[in-house]
Amino acid sequence: MEPIPAPLVDLTSLAPVLVLSVFTMMVLLVDLFVGRNKSVLVFISLTGLLMAAISAFAKGAEIPVYSFNGAYVVDRLSIFFTMIFCLSSALAILLSVEYNKREGIRVGEYYSLILFCTVGMIVLASSTDLIMIFIGIEIVSICLYVLAGIRRGDLRSNEASLKYFLLGAFATGFLLYGMTLLYGTTGSVKLLTIAERLNSGEVFTNPLMLMGVVLLVIGFGFKVASVPFHMWAPDVYQGAPTPVTAFMAVGPKAAAFAAFFRVFAEGIPELAPSWETTLSIVAVLSMFIGNLGAIMQTNIKRLLAFSSVSHVGYILIAVIAKNTLGSASLLFYMLSYAFMIFGIFGIVILLGREGNENLELENYSGLGFKHPMLAFCMTLFMLSLGGLPPLAGFVAKFYIFQAALKEGFLWLVIIAVLNSAISFYYYLKVIVFMYMKEPIGEFKISLTPITLFVVAIGVLGTLELGIFPGPVIFLAQY
């Protein structure tokens, strides 16, 4: 029997994944030896994330580089997304430090799970192979199932975890079926080969393939929480620990969008006439249902969950636009969204105290007088989410609309702009509570420094990306 030839392994392409994996194992191991004080784990995790972010540039300037027979790629999209993931994970870890202490989450594996999740996200954003994308999604999802339920004594956290898990597994089935049909009808699992075969017209009108596309829309639609596959989002967001909610709303969502974009815009752009309609419907529904749902909410986490559904609608427009501007705007949107969301959740965490998280909007009444700075930051984030210039949210939206207009989707843009007008209705509600209501009860806020630091980063990012978006846009477009 002949020996198996040595596979072609390109370790430099994998650098961020490898670095981060090593650090993750390190966190796992060190956790065994440290006692109740987990700050050394935080330190190791942050170092790992930083190193991973740096090592994302290991390939130098000669991108895009395909390796592993076209299963893995280092390109503009993957490098930038790696940065977003490292940033969001780092912010999530920073948010957790004081929150975990307060809420009594004392498992060291918490940090390693976030890092595992980050590894999965990087894999997901860099894969150009259906198998790899599938595994990447699963790594991310499994870590999130556990993270959502990490407050084991809290029934809400358990419930969130269970709901997320069941629906996630269900959606995985659909996603897998979709990938299978795509594989079967094109004969390849590599996105590049699929695109090539579609381009040559061999398998164009295969009805089964269109079916596969719909199934993919469901699978990815679930992961990014778009209507009608969004139902889990409010419940899970509400039940999960707040830093995990923030993390879920940014990192994994960005990763899912990366894969979404890769599969649809790079793998099967030839099928655009059929999936454009489908995705447009999903996007429009997401915007409307997300906004309508948010109006009624009184819990800030649920409100943000619905608002994130509507944001998914906007971001889907970038996928529909499927041009380079679209990918760049996707990157920009996710980055600015990360700053806003982590800033908001930082404030949400600051407002809570042991045993009472103060998540109702009423708890924000009068914040503007007691803590003007915090209220000001919150106002900034809310206005930015609504898309008020010159804040990050506006530039991001503008950029996406630009990409869509280039492809002639004026009607989608009109609906999106209309929706962003509606969305102010509930973003303003938060501001009204902060500035225009008498406080109920007393604020017992301990302004813990690390969380404040995250809020400050959020503010700086929101302002920077709004006023001087130039460098970042340049990076995103390359």
Partner: protein, 169 residues
């Protein structure tokens, strides 16, 4: 000839799958699932995927289902004394809706499958689906997913331990 094996096999797997869904006893459901998986292993053999067929028996029917059984036993769930094991309560509209949805989906799927032209089936070499073939592929072209899967399993293990371990220090 193969059709003669296929049809009964398909029938049995479908019946066993229905058994999983409609059985009110947890142990019976699990046993039906094991049976269904063994049936699928046979289908894989029919498709000349010998390696996967073996895996199906070892991993699915062996490992995964044992886990299911273990948890059912651990939680000491019995049929009858817990409403959970029943199907959801009767609600005419919902039942009709569910049925219609599933049938519609199934109809569409089969319709698409039947209206698709697949072309000629390739002539399979004798070595198709053997451990050597699949293994070679796995360790050359697909070495990356293979390795990344280890992260997946590790993460799952850590997660399961975190959630299920008895007491956090």
């Amino acid at each position: 000839m193969e059709l003669l094996i296929f049809y009964p096999l398909a029938l049995v797997t479908i019946l066993l799958a229905l058994g999983v869904v409609f059985n009110t006893s947890p142990i019976n459901s699990a046993v039906s699932l094991i049976g269904m998986m063994l049936g699928l292993a046979a289908v894989f053999v029919l498709l000349q995927a010998h390696f996967i067929a073996i895996l199906q028996v070892i991993v699915y029917a062996g490992a995964i289902m044992v886990l299911f059984m273990f948890v059912i036993m651990l939680l000491n769930l019995k049929a009858g004394d817990d409403r959970a094991w029943k199907m959801r309560e009767r609600n005419l509209y919902l039942s009709i809706l569910t049925g219609v949805l599933i049938l519609l989906g199934l109809y569409k799927l089969t319709d698409k499958i039947q209206s698709t032209e697949f072309g000629e089936t390739a002539k399979l070499p004798d070595t198709f689906g053997t451990t050597i073939e699949v293994g070679t592929k796995l360790f050359t072209d697909y070495v990356l997913p293979f390795e990344v899967a280890s992260i997946l399993l590790l993460a799952a293990m850590v997660g399961a331990v975190v959630l299920a371990k008895n007491k956090v220090d």
